[in-house]
């Protein structure tokens, strides 16, 4: 394979794309080599997805753009053409039919047949060998519906391998994976690289990129910024390329909760649902940012939903400002001054077809309404304008559908909706998931500002640097219980990634 090294498999030369008068890509030139893992980074809206769509044949680049595969100029005019050229893409939202088997999914669209009948035997045999090579612990005949997210991802990879793809593009593949699953995925990606595939790896996670990639290319505002080789990759350099400035003021923590911690705003006592959340008790104080850490599946989201009244709790009491509230529905919780930012803004948060303005006003429009429930449009417009200004939402117009905004801006719209209800307590579930670095730091600044104004903020996050960076005190959940606490009172353990992980993972030690 040594002769293959450094030979570009796919080259893009001066690839541009304009939508109307908006330039989404400005003459990007990039080469992807055989047997390399090439990370592609950039904030949301930097042009990564446009570039992907061009490679997948979903959209056509402007005149003058050149795409060259193995020295030959090609036209990718459709998804089928992309497939035939050996380009495979694994999207964040997986594209499998859950009601079909693994083999049927992999062969979908080109099923082997004997006469008029599907040749299931050949199908299963063809797939089994690939699954074995990839180290899958499920069978070709298994239904996809019964597989975990990580296993489904493996099916997608198997599909690409089975189709003899030459370049595999992965869009944020680890967003929904646990740590162990991520490790397994990395091993597999390295194996595919050894086998001579070129891998384009799109991610927001610096650590992964650092660990995995041979080269990193950065896009900013639709333009190519540069490529770093293996030796030159370091987080500070990459961030500087992505945002065009330094990282020094990334995490914002100007509020002062240590010196003068306020009185408790939210008191949670023995709240449980009898299934995934054991009785949990904790307080959030005025002007405090409380981290809720723990592994995926430790019950953090479930606990938050119980507090918010989104799911029924079987035991426990909840008080806001010393008053018993015990919300039985999200409506009760909102009226009691509790707001909850869901971890899945597209599925559980936003109305994607409705406008920015409608989404922001959804929580307060009945409060603002004129007599007879008539919308107060003047007030709605004013709120929207202020929210766009205050949180820095980038949108063409307040009337544009939210679905067209980038992840970070969608998140700011959802946050604005919550803030309009003037909550006393704000529970943020993975507030920066799928959000670019610029929006991330804006969200941190917002959390800091709210704490200074006296709001009690709880942040559920799987990103430990984030927890460490912005929280005053952290409770750590494990298997549905609050297993420990760091920070806060004098004499408590320091808030460090190590201390949090020790509590989050020591289930076995304690049981022994």
């Amino acid at each position: 394979m040594s002769t293959d090294q450094n030979r570009p498999f796919l080259e893009m030369r001066n690839v541009s794309k304009t939508f109307g008068r908006v330039r989404a890509l400005t003459s990007v030139s990039l080469d992807i080599r055989v047997g390399e893992i090439h990370a592609l980074m950039g904030e949301n809206g930097a042009g990564k997805s446009t570039l992907m769509k061009i490679l997948s044949g979903a959209i056509a680049p402007d005149e003058g753009s050149e795409i060259v595969i193995e020295g030959r100029r090609v036209a990718i005019n459709g998804p089928m053409a992309a497939k035939q050229l050996g380009i495979a893409i694994i999207y964040q939202e997986l594209t499998l039919a859950p009601n079909l088997s693994v083999a049927e999914n992999i062969y979908l669209g080109r099923e082997p047949s004997r006469g008029a009948l599907i040749d299931r035997k050949a199908m299963v045999a063809g797939v089994e060998s690939v699954l074995q090579r990839l180290g899958a612990n499920f069978a070709a005949r298994d239904k996809v519906a019964g597989l975990s997210i990580a296993e489904r991802q493996l099916v997608e990879i198997a599909r690409a391998v089975h189709a003899r793809s030459r370049v595999l593009i992965m869009d944020e593949p680890t967003t929904t994976l646990s740590e162990r699953e991520t490790e397994r995925l990395f091993a597999l990606v390295r194996q595919l690289k050894q086998e001579g595939l070129a891998i384009v790896y799109i991610s927001h996670r610096m650590k992964e990129v650092y660990e995995l990639s041979d080269r990193v290319s950065v896009l900013r505002d639709g333009a190519y910024v540069g490529t770093l080789g293996r030796d030159a990759i370091n987080p500070a350099a990459v961030v500087r390329m992505m945002v065009g400035r330094d990282l020094s003021s990334f995490y914002k923590k100007e509020h002062n909760a240590h010196g003068s911690r306020g009185r408790p705003i939210l008191s949670v006592r023995d709240v449980s649902d009898g299934r995934r959340v054991e009785p949990c008790s904790f307080d959030i104080h005025e002007g405090e940012v409380l981290g809720i850490a723990g592994l995926v599946g430790a019950g953090r989201t479930e606990l938050a939903r119980l507090i918010f009244g989104a799911d029924p709790k079987i035991t426990g009491a909840i008080a806001v400002d010393g008053r018993d509230v015990n919300p039985r529905s999200p409506k009760d919780a909102i009226e009691a001054g509790i707001a909850y930012l869901t971890e899945d803004r597209k599925l559980l948060g936003l109305m994607l077809d409705m406008s920015v303005s409608e989404n922001i006003n959804l929580g307060v429009m009945s409060r603002d309404a004129l007599a007879g429930g008539v919308l107060n449009r003047a007030k709605g417009r004013k709120r929207t304008a202020e929210a766009i200004e205050a949180t820095g939402i980038r949108t063409a117009s307040p009337d544009a559908p939210v679905g067209g905004l980038s992840g970070g801006n969608q998140q700011k719209v959802l946050l604005s909706r919550l803030l309009e209800t003037r909550p006393r307590v704000l529970i943020l579930d993975e507030p920066t998931r799928g959000v670019d670095i610029g929006a991330k730091s804006e969200i941190y600044r917002l959390i800091d500002r709210l704490a200074r104004e006296g709001v009690g903020v709880a942040v559920i996050s799987s990103e430990l640097p984030e927890i460490v960076g912005i929280c005053d005190r952290v409770i750590v959940m494990r298997e549905g219980r609050i297993a420990g606490e760091v920070g806060g009172a004098a004499g408590a353990e320091q808030i460090t990634q190590e201390n949090i992980m020790a509590i989050a993972t020591s289930a076995a030690k304690e049981a022994a």
């Binding site: 109305m351 309404a369 919308l375």
Partner: protein, 341 residues
């Protein structure tokens, strides 16, 4: 390379408000086109040549007939718009219309209190709609199944009300609603237009309407935002029933009679067709009442125009069905990339 992005999709990206208006207009060009076609065809049938002036379709007299024919379906389709905007369906409106018409006729026979018939129809229709809503909101049954059931049961109820007979009232006190006119505009048309305007105000200018869109767009997100989703379900099916009741009163007023078996047969299909022709998404969240009005007019224009041009009854059915499919297909092409009908 061929672009898979239609110009409409690009227009939407550039100016979402404009695209929204275009979509709201939706089938208006199709309506105008069909009307022009019928004017020319009816002229051809009359004279055997191409003569605009001899066409009978666009005479004031005929347009008045068309709009009256469209009126009851417009009222039903307005209610259906509320339901479909939440992602639901109401198959029972034809039967509810029949039952309400029967109630209206029965009440109209009470000496001296005959005008009560209209009110009784509205209350009866609204109540039946609320039953649909309650079954859907509280028992969490699928709307299709609930309203399929009530469609059948309520039809039986309508026959029961009249002991399976036709009820007549030659002195119907509210007959003017079906046959009279105010300043030359038929009452049926006034009622239909008023229904559309009120529906527009509710949908676009009130908190309730915004919540209808929100629930249709994403029910779980609406719940987490503090919307009582069950109350919205109750409202839209109640509204659909209420307007079916109004349709029942209009039908009774027009005919001076009602028959539980015959009135409102398969009206639900025309109402659904009007909503879909109007560009409202079948999965909810997207659509407008103006589109529904245009959709109802297209259906009425087709029926009337095919009769005027002497097309046989059998072919009328075939052509109407194909036009509905074709029109929606055209709309799909026009808005490809963002359509979710």
């Amino acid at each position: 390379m061929t672009s898979t992005h239609s110009s409409a999709a690009e227009a939407k990206r550039r100016n979402p408000a404009l695209a929204g208006n275009l979509r709201g207009l939706g089938m208006l060009p199709a309506l105008v086109l069909i009307a022009i076609l019928f004017q020319i065809l009816s002229g051809y049938v009359e004279t055997g040549g191409l003569s605009w002036a001899d066409g009978r379709f666009m005479s004031w007299n005929n347009l008045s007939i068309v709009t009256q024919q469209a009126s009851i379906n417009t009222v039903l389709a307005a209610g259906m718009t509320f339901v479909i905007l939440t992602g639901g369906i109401d198959l029972s409106v034809g039967s509810v219309l029949a039952a309400s018409a029967m109630l209206a006729m029965i009440a109209s026979l009470i000496p001296g209190w005959g005008m009560l018939g209209v009110l009784v129809a509205l209350i009866g229709g609204g109540a039946l709609g609320l039953i649909n809503g309650a079954l859907i909101a509280f028992l969490r049954l699928p709307p299709f199944i609930v309203t399929l059931g009530t469609m059948t049961s309520v039809r039986g109820l309508a026959r029961l009300f009249g002991h399976d007979n036709t009820i007549f009232n030659a002195d119907l006190p509210f007959a003017f609603l079906g046959n009279g006119a105010l300043f030359g505009v038929p009452w049926l048309v006034i009622i239909a237009l008023a229904t559309v305007v009120v529906s527009w105000v509710i949908l676009r200018r009130t908190v309730l309407g915004m919540r209808v869109y929100a629930v249709g767009g994403n029910p779980e997100a609406a719940r987490l935002a503090g919307v009582k989703v069950w109350s919205i379900s109750l409202f839209v099916y109640g509204m659909s029933g209420l307007l079916a009741g109004l349709g029942g009163a209009m039908s009774a007023a027009k005919l001076y009679a009602a028959n539980g078996l015959q009135v409102g047969q398969s009206y639900e299909l025309d109402a659904i067709a009007a909503v879909i022709l109007g560009g409202t998404s079948f999965v909810g969240g997207i659509g407008s009442i103006w589109g529904t009005l245009v959709g109802a007019l297209i259906i009425a224009v087709l029926s009337n125009g095919l009769i005027l041009t002497g097309v046989s009854d059998i072919w009328q059915f075939i052509i109407k069905g194909l036009v509905i499919i074709g029109a929606v297909a055209l709309d799909r092409l026009r808005t490809s990339g963002n359509a979710r009908t």
